[in-house]
């Protein structure tokens, strides 16, 4: 009887002990994708999970789709999950803007960044038969009179990138909100609008296929696949980088060693050549930034967009 009590007490204390990196993970880890299956976050998460599970010991990374509310439902669920490392959010830039614009109840401080795996810079794309051959043509035209520019929706990061451009140049845009990338391609390739602000990941295939022309890319250095396309700064738009990001975050309060374990896991995944090839084929440039560097990216994005949201009166 005494022994049994002892065993029970030991068992209880083992449960109550904080997870140490040595014995983490002991069971499967949920990687929560706050969207339905089939989207970019879902696709990249599954590619990561496949490689991660060949490395991870003690448990599996399980992709869980928790859609609804434009990502807010799944994001909120992770913000309220136990900070034990068994709930990871596939975190996108919308985590920064949703509390400001869409009334999400969590705050960005409810999450602790783990690692970044993809940065998707904004590009200016025009139809192939557009009169704008260069970024300068485009800038001149948009300075003379507003150009009709397709964006994914009012208040999306692509709309915000347009507002950011308007802030630092004399250009003006007439935003055409079009949901769904397919419909946007139809509008631009079909020549129904003057151009679009798109994420590079999705624009790339259309540009390579010759449906659209890229005029400028919002990142610090030129893209090796498009050596002739200038960066925003080279084109005369003073924005060094404007990119949506994809990474991992865990609930605030998750122990340091667990975050380190997950960050190291992501690094090992990144170092796998087959993984990088799969990501590239799916249209996403694989990168790796650890927790601190990812935090810096998030803070930079938050500062940049916070000011724009306030100026444009998009907050609520």
């Amino acid at each position: 009887m005494k022994n049994l009590a002892l065993v029970a007490a030991l068992g209880l204390s083992a449960l109550a002990m904080p997870a140490l990196a040595d014995d983490y993970p002991q069971r499967d880890i949920d990687l929560v994708v706050p969207f339905a299956p089939g989207g970019s976050v879902d696709t990249t998460s599954r590619i990561i999970a496949e490689t991660a599970n060949s490395i991870l010991e003690g448990g599996e990374l399980v992709v869980v789709n928790r859609g609804g509310g434009g990502g807010i439902v799944g994001q909120t669920s992770v913000s309220m999950a136990a900070p034990d490392g068994y709930s990871i959010l596939a975190m996108t830039s919308s985590v920064v803007t949703n509390p400001l614009m869409k009334g999400a109840t969590y705050s960005i401080d409810d999450f602790r960044p783990v690692a970044l795996y993809n940065l998707d810079p904004e590009v200016i794309a025009v139809p192939m038969d557009s009169p704008f051959e260069t970024a300068q043509d485009f800038i001149d035209a948009a300075t003379a009179e507003p150009l009709s520019i397709v964006v994914a929706g009012i208040g999306t990061s692509h709309h915000l990138s347009g507002l950011a451009i308007e802030r630092v140049t004399d250009m003006t845009f007439n935003y055409i909100p079009t949901s769904g990338f397919g419909a946007q391609v139809q509008a631009v390739v079909g020549g129904h609008a003057d151009g679009a602000l798109w994420p590079m990941g999705e624009a790339m295939a259309q540009a390579q296929a010759g449906g659209v022309r890229l005029l400028a890319i919002a990142q610090e250095e030129r893209n090796p696949d498009f050596p002739d396309v200038p960066t925003f700064q080279e084109a005369g738009i003073d924005i060094p980088i404007f990119a949506t990001f994809r990474g991992w975050a865990v609930p605030a309060g998750t122990p340091d060693d667990v975050v380190a374990t997950l960050s190291n896991l992501m690094q090992s995944v990144y170092e796998d050549e087959a993984y990088r090839e799969r990501m590239t084929n799916a249209g996403f440039v694989p990168v790796f930034r650890d927790a601190d560097a990812f935090q810096a990216v998030i803070s930079d994005y938050a500062t940049r967009t916070g000011a724009i949201i306030e100026e444009a009166g998009l907050g609520q």
Binding site: A36, P37, G38, G39, S40, D42, T43, R46, I47, V63, V64, N65, R66, G67, G68, G69, G70, I72, V73, T76, M101, K102, G103, A104, T105, S148, G153, I154, G155, T156, H159, N174, Y175, I176, P177, T178, S179, G180, G182, A183, V185, Q186, A187, V189, G190, G191, H192, A193, A205, Q206, Q208, A209, G210, G211, R278, N281, A282, G283, L314, Q316
Partner: protein, 509 residues
């Protein structure tokens, strides 16, 4: 031609063909169960497909996609419950035929129409995809607005007698469609602070409610009525002979061809979808029927068991499946929400739909195209097998048990779209609303059309006017927007002609 052969070679491996046939059976069953549709089936399946080779995964999806549009007709005819939204109209004449002891004939017409519609559009996809893709590109915001107007106008033809109730239904649909983000301002509206409604009422659970849950309530009323009258439960109609007389085939050919043509055109246009195709085809067939057969001896009244009423929507909805792949494969633009899920499945296997697909993964691209043709050819025997075996046993289940089974499937289906419990509430409330609408004889069709076309109407109108700088004449501009002008003109005729005919003196019969 080499490319097509390559597609056949990829398809003609035992495992890939096996997956295609499995998909056909699965799709037929998924389609024939109210409350579950191809969207839900894909949402559940896509994560699994990650572990499969791409050719097998996509073959299975093609099978499910083609067969689900056909399977929906089975419960529509037998118990007047559309298995999928695309068989909404089939339930009218199809079930009327079944009640007159011709369930087998109605089912046979539905399947044959589906197969013919599917084959025609597969052939179009096989040979004309690249040239037709450029037609899809001509559809900008202005054309999409005109198309939505045309779709809504097709309802007029369906509203003999109860125009007011039809209008109420359309307004209900359009109103519900305004919930969620305003595309114009980016602010949420009518969400009552509920985060789950921020992108609008989730559409898949909504359909589950309108068709599945509402059917459930209907069945329960039936059971209570029978109990009250102390009668043994009324039996479901016998399926009976599936043979189609030759004269009937001859009579239906023009309907099949025009239904397939409408489905082909609508399927290619992004944002239109199956519902618009079935409404236009049904409306078109109704006009032809009134011109040629109505009032003749031995003919039923429209809506009370006319074979054209089954043939038109069924040939149109299956024509949409293959043709919705035209813009998807050649441009990366999905024709409807189901074909959009193919993008996800392709992306999981490192492929991006669009022009590059043919150069980088030609075998897969052509296999998908060829698979549509083969799927539609194989669908005929599969459909008869399913009706003779599975459907027969499903419909021989006692009604009380059927209610429980459908209830469970509806809520699982609603939940599995996003793993969100809110969806189950959506399905329940939508089911109650649809049930009340049926009790008060407000037609469901116009409401669904309003629901589907509402967002397209609003955002295409807004965007057209933004681009034209507020000039409303763009919609009827015959030089820059001839397609739009044409569609607006036809829509106007749909409204005006019945009114004018009413005022003309009636011809002596």
């Amino acid at each position: 031609m080499d490319a097509i052969l390559l597609g056949f070679q990829t398809l003609a491996t035992p495992m890939v063909l096996f997956m295609l046939v499995t998909g056909l059976f699965a799709g037929m069953i998924v389609g024939s169960i109210p409350g579950i549709n191809d969207n839900i089936a894909f949402a559940v399946f896509i994560p699994f497909s990650f572990a499969m080779p791409p050719d097998q995964a996509l073959a299975l999806m093609v099978g499910v996609y083609c067969a689900a549009a056909t399977g929906g007709a089975i419960p529509a005819i037998v118990i007047k419950v559309p298995g999928t939204a695309s068989s909404l109209l089939t339930a009218e004449d199809g079930n009327a035929m079944a009640r007159k002891g011709m369930a087998g004939r109605a089912l046979s017409i539905a399947i044959t129409s589906s197969v013919i519609g599917g084959i025609i559009s597969s052939i179009v996809l096989l040979f004309f995809a690249p040239s037709l893709a450029s037609v899809a590109l001509r559809f900008g915001y202005v054309e999409n607005f005109a198309l939505a107007i045309l779709g809504l106008s097709s309802v007029v033809g369906l509203l003999r007698g109860n125009v007011i109730k039809g209008a109420i239904a359309a307004i209900i649909g359009l109103t519900v469609a305004t919930i969620g983000f305003s595309p114009v301002t980016g602010f949420p509206r009518y969400t009552f602070g509920n985060i789950n409604m921020i992108e609008g009422i989730p559409f898949v659970p909504l359909l589950v409610g309108l068709f599945g849950v509402a059917a459930l309530l209907d069945l329960m009323v039936d059971i209570f009525r029978d109990r009250k009258d102390n009668k043994p439960l009324s039996k479901l109609p016998e399926i009976g002979s599936l043979l189609l007389p030759r004269a009937l085939m001859r009579r239906l050919w023009p309907v099949w061809l025009s239904g397939a043509a409408i489905g082909n055109v609508i399927g290619m246009l992004p944002g239109a979808g199956m519902l618009m195709a079935i409404f236009l085809a049904y409306d078109n067939a109704a006009r032809r029927f009134r011109r040629l057969y109505a009032g003749k001896p031995g003919e039923e009244a429209w809506g009370e068991g006319v074979p054209e009423g089954v043939a038109a929507p069924e040939s149109a909805n299956n024509a949409v499946t293959a043709s919705s792949m035209v813009p998807l494969l050649s441009l990366g633009i999905p024709g409807n929400s189901t074909s959009a899920l193919f993008i996800g499945a392709l992306a999981l296997h490192g492929m991006v739909p669009g022009p590059l697909l043919f150069s980088q993964h030609g075998n897969i691209a052509w296999m998908i195209i060829v698979a549509f043709l083969v799927a539609n050819l194989l669908m005929w025997p599969v459909a008869f097998l399913v009706i003779r075996s599975v459907s027969k046993s499903i419909f021989s289940i006692p009604k009380e048990v059927l209610v429980g089974v459908i209830a469970m499937l509806c809520f699982i289906g609603a939940y599995s779209d996003g793993a969100n419990t809110f969806n189950m509430w959506v399905a329940l409330v939508a089911g109650l609303v649809a049930f009340v609408m049926r009790m008060t004889k407000i037609p469901l069709g116009p409401a669904i059309l309003g629901l589907v076309l509402g967002p397209q109407l609003e955002s295409s109108l807004n965007n057209s006017l933004l681009i034209s700088r507020g000039d409303w004449l763009v919609f009827i501009d015959p030089i820059n927007h001839p397609i739009s002008a044409g569609m607006i003109f036809v829509s106007a005729l749909l409204w005006i002609v019945p009114v004018v005919l009413n005022f003309l003196p009636k011809k002596a019969a």
